[in-house]
């Protein structure tokens, strides 16, 4: 078995993020309380989703440049794990929102509709829909090279359209979500220095874990491919 230092790093960072995330001191804010610790999990999911999608695009570009099907497999796997991270981001966000936004005393927050209209949620929904469409597109092209090429083109095109929209929409609509005036959690003013000590390692840890899952997927698909090729001969 090959030795991969970054897999060890992923385990170490995530252990730190989980233990430190639950035990280290956090600023006390009346509305958030201890739920602020969800930042280490919820926001990290979105960060790693974005990073994994970006890796997927890089592989799509590489595929178009080289025509090597391995890049297509990688693009698909990273997009898949990115989508999974996005779903986890929704799940952690839903739990968080149920403690902070869904205030029974405030009618404006009560309905699913009013929460779903949040610009950040719209952006995330668009991202997940785009990748849902990406997988449907893949499954509806039968020829392998054709599928790789068409899906790579859609991947790049959608990504180029997606990112401006993620920056634009939040500035158009009113929001309860933190980080209204820019990129949440990257801004040095809206995250406490004590939290940064856990937050950045956590982002790195979750991204490495996502990469790990994706590499396993890639190897599984490559083996499958090999099996079919042998079968045909």
């Amino acid at each position: 078995m090959q030795f991969h230092w970054w897999k060890i790093a992923a385990i170490a960072l995530l252990t730190y993020a989980v233990v430190g995330g639950l035990l280290l001191p956090v600023p006390e804010l009346s509305q958030l309380g201890e739920t602020i610790r969800n930042l280490y999990y919820h926001v990290c999911m979105w960060f790693s989703m974005m990073i994994l999608f970006t890796v997927s695009i890089v592989h799509s570009v590489k595929y178009l440049r080289t025509g090597d099907l391995n890049h297509d497999i990688k693009a698909e796997s990273f997009a898949g794990v990115g989508t999974y991270m996005g779903l986890l981001g929704y799940a952690t966000g839903a739990i968080w929102a149920s403690y902070t936004w869904a205030d029974p005393n405030n009618p404006a927050y009560a309905s699913f509709g009013s929460i779903m209209r949040e610009p950040k949620l719209i952006g995330a929904a668009i991202a997940l829909l785009v990748y849902g469409a990406y997988f449907i597109l893949r499954s509806s092209v039968t020829d392998m090279d054709q599928r790789a090429r068409v899906s790579a083109v859609y991947n790049i095109f959608a990504y180029a359209m997606l990112f401006p929209s993620i920056w634009i929409i939040p500035r158009l609509l009113p929001s309860l979500h933190p980080g209204q005036e820019g990129n949440p959690a990257l801004n040095f003013n809206d995250i406490d220095s004590r939290m940064r000590m856990v937050f950045y390692p956590a982002v790195l840890g979750w991204t490495l874990l996502g990469t790990w899952i994706a590499t396993l997927l890639v190897r599984y698909k490559q083996l499958n491919e090999k099996k079919w090729n042998a079968h045909e001969k």
Binding site: L64, I122, A125, I126, A127, L129, V130, G132, A133, I136, L137, S140, V141, T142, Q146, R149, V150, A152, V153, Y154, I156, F157, A158, A160, M161, L162, P164, S165, I168, I169, L172, L173
Partner: protein, 220 residues
């Protein structure tokens, strides 16, 4: 033949084809008329917000229908012929231009029919007219590129909608926001102009992406 002449020739061919096969054109116009008529029966006296939202939804569906045929109509053999006589960049540019022209015409027809049936609730019709032209342009550009992608797959027409909806949402939101200027909503100084520039920048981005990416789709 140099690139520009090819471009003009291809564009002329599209327009000529349209004037010969008028049934598809009338088909789209009938589609517009029946959509607007159904909306008219479904609700009377919409307020400004509903009016605006409904208008952009009709524009969305019309653009899918009008633009879809541009690639889906081309038989494989004809694509092969284009392949031998012209370059992908010229080809996609001619398609984009043609669809923009088509969609602007359809957008105008839609706007006229829509106001005729639903009444004119805008404060400044000229402004709204301009915005709808801008919107028609953006919609047709995005869906041309998506039609090119979808034409390579099965169940093309429905796939185009699936691929397109998530991508078009931001543009539609921008357009609906911008349309509010025509309903006399007060904006910050320069904000509407900013939105217009943003939409034009998005259009430019789409054209750029189409020029870069289409050559890869073109190879078969």
């Amino acid at each position: 033949m140099n690139g520009f002449n090819q471009y003009v020739a291809l564009l002329r061919k599209e327009l000529l084809l349209e004037s010969r096969q008028q049934h598809t054109l009338y088909g789209v116009i009938l589609y517009i008329a029946s959509t607007v008529f159904v909306l008219y029966l479904a609700m009377s006296d919409p307020d400004a917000d509903t009016w605006n939202a409904q208008f952009w939804i009709t524009m969305l569906f019309i653009s899918i229908n009008a633009v879809a045929k541009s690639f889906l109509q081309e038989p494989r053999s004809r694509m092969l012929y284009y392949y031998s006589i012209t370059s992908p960049v010229v080809f996609i540019l001619s398609k984009l231009t043609y669809n923009v022209i088509l969609m602007i015409v359809m957008g105008i027809i839609n706007l006229l029919l829509y106001t005729a049936f639903m009444g004119d609730v805008t404060a400044s019709f000229i402004q709204f007219f301009g915005i709808s032209l801008l919107g028609a342009m953006g919609l047709s550009l995005v869906f041309t590129m998506l039609a090119a992608i979808a034409s390579k797959a099965m169940q093309q027409a429905s796939l185009m909608a699936i691929l397109g909806f998530p991508i078009i949402i931001p543009q539609l939101l921008l357009l609906m926001r911008l349309s509010k200027t025509a309903f006399a909503e007060i904006f910050k100084d320069g904000a509407p102009m900013q939105l217009v520039l943003l939409l034009l920048a998005l259009d430019l981005l789409i054209i750029l992406m189409a020029v870069i990416l289409y050559p890869f789709l073109w190879k078969d």
